[in-house]
Subunit: 344 residues, 2 copies
Amino acid sequence: MRNPSLARLAPVEPSLQEPARTPGRFIDLVADKLVATEVILRRELDSDVPFIHKAGAYLADGGGKRVRPALLLLCARLLGHDGEEEITYGAVVELIHSATLIHDDIIDHAALRRGKATLNQLWGNNLTVLLGDWIYTKAMQMALSHGQIEVVQRLCDATLKMTEGELLAFERLGAIDLTVDEYFEIIDRKTAYLFSAACSIPALIPPRRTDAGPALARYGRALGICFQLVDDLLDFTARESELGKPVLSDLKEGKLTLPLILLLPRVRPEEKRLIETVLEDRSFGRVASQQILDLVSAQGTLDEAREMAESYAAQARAELGLFAPGDTRDALEFAPDYVLHRRS
Amino acid sequence: MRNPSLARLAPVEPSLQEPARTPGRFIDLVADKLVATEVILRRELDSDVPFIHKAGAYLADGGGKRVRPALLLLCARLLGHDGEEEITYGAVVELIHSATLIHDDIIDHAALRRGKATLNQLWGNNLTVLLGDWIYTKAMQMALSHGQIEVVQRLCDATLKMTEGELLAFERLGAIDLTVDEYFEIIDRKTAYLFSAACSIPALIPPRRTDAGPALARYGRALGICFQLVDDLLDFTARESELGKPVLSDLKEGKLTLPLILLLPRVRPEEKRLIETVLEDRSFGRVASQQILDLVSAQGTLDEAREMAESYAAQARAELGLFAPGDTRDALEFAPDYVLHRRS
C-alpha cells in the first residue's frame, strides 16, 4: 500500500531564481472559460429540493481558488481544444473537489473554510452528508454528458483515490509516529490524483492525444503534491486572515504534516511531548501554538518542506518539455510558481 | 416539486386471490446469476486500505434481500440477455443501495440493521461517511466497465433522486403535518427510482430494446412504491426478531409514514398528542409503543395502506402484458406478491 518511491523521487534542481511574473496571472489565458465554468457551477448546483437550492447558492458564492478547473482549461488549450467539453469538465473537477471538502469538514469538525462558516456548521452534519453525496453524483452525471466514458473513468479513479487518502489519514489521525512515506501516500491520494486527472483529461477529448496524456498526468501529479505540501506549510506560516481558518489547524485536528514529521526525530523528549499533547488534546489549551511555531522555526523543517515542494514544482515544469513553446506552455510552467507563492 | 398524481393514481383492482406459489421463489430462475453477483460484490468491496478491506467484508457478509439485483437479472432474462453485463449491473444497484443505507444509518443514528450492528455503530460516523462515498464511486466505476454510458446516466439520475428523497425526508423529520402527497414524493424518490432503474437498465444492454424500456421502468417504479409501503407497514406489524431492528423505529426516528398520516385527521386531539409526543421525544419514554399500535389498529389504516400497496402491485403486474408469456414473466408477475408478503 505504501509507495515509498514517491517520497524518494530523485530531486530535480529547484528553481533558484523565481520568475519575475506575478502569481495568479497564470490563469489569464483561460479567464473567459473560467467564467463559463462558474456559470455552469452555479446552474448545476441547484434543484427543486429547497435545501439544495439554498446550500448550492451558498457554495457557489463561497468562491475558492478554482485551481483545478484553471489547470484543466490550460491543458485543454495547450492541446488546441476550444469547445464545451473542457468547460464542463472544469466544473466537474471543482464539484468533486467541493464534495470532498464538504465531507472532510464534517470529519474535521471544521467551522470555517475560506473565511465563511462551513455547511456542517450552518446546517448540521446530516444534511451536509447528503449534500456531499448529491454533489458527487451530480458531478458524475455532468461528466457523462459528452459521452466520453474514459473521462468519467478517470474521474472515478481519482475520486476513489481521494476517498482512500482520507480514510488512510483518518485511520492515522492523532498518531505521533506517522512516517514520511505514509504522509506522501496520503497527500498523493488525497490531492495529487485529482490534479493529475484534471491535467490529463483534456488529452481524452477528441481528437484524443495519447501522446500527451501521460506527461500531463505526471505534470498534474507533481503539481498536486507541491500544492498539498504548500497547503500544509501555510498552516504554519499564513495569518488567519489570509487563510480563512485558524493557524495550526492541522495539528489541532490531530494531523501531523511534513514539517513536524521531519522535526520529531530530532527534538528532545520534552519537545516531542509538546506536540503529543496537542495531538491528544486536539486543542492549544496546555501548549501555546507559539511554542510549536518556535520549535519548527528552530529546526528549520519549514524550509526543508518548502525545498521538497520546490523540487516537485520543478519536476512538474520538466514534464512540459514535450510541448511546443508558447503562451499556454508558459502559463503552465508558471502555475507551480503560483502554487509555491500563494498565501491562502 | 410535489407530484400529487403519484398518490392519486387510479387504483388498479387489487388481486384478491393470492397465487398459491411460495414467496421468495421468484428468484429461482436467476439464482446462479445472483451467486455471480455476490462474488462480484465481495471482490469489489475490497481495497489496499485496511479499513475498506475490513468494513467491505463485514458488509458482504451482512446479507440483505438482494431484491434490486434479482429484479434486474429477471428483467434481463425477460429480454433474452445472458451475459456479464447484467451481473455487473446487479452488483452495482446493490452497491448504490448499500451506500445509501450506510449514510442513512448515520443520519438516523441507527445501531442495528438486518440484526447486525451498523457500520456507524461499530466504527463511528467519520469512517462511515467516507466508506459510503467510496462505495458510491466504486459502483459508478463498475457501471462504466461495459462502456454503456446510458446505463451510468440512468444510475446517476436514480442516485440523485434518492439523495433528494432523503433530503426532503430529513427536512420534514419530526413534522406532524406531513401530507400524503409529500409522503409519496419522498418514497418515490427514495426507493422507486432505483427500482425503476434496476428494471429498465436491461433494456439498455445491446441489442437495445427501446420498445421494452418504458414498461419495465414503470413496472419497477410501481413495484418500488409497493416495496416502500410494505417496508413502512412492517415497522408496525413485524416482530423485532424478524425485522432485525426495533418495531416502530420510524416514528421513534421522527418519520411519519402512511398509516399514521392517514390516521391523524381522524383521531381525537389527545390521541394526536400521543404521536406528537413520540415525534418530539424521539423515544417511547412517555408513550408506550403499544398505545400507538392500538391507535392504528382501531382506525384500520394499516389495512388502507396495505390496499394501496396491493394496488401498486397490481399496477406493476399490468405493465408486463407487453411481454410474451413464459417462466420469466411469471416470476416478474410474482415479484409483487413476494414484496407484499415478506416479513422482513
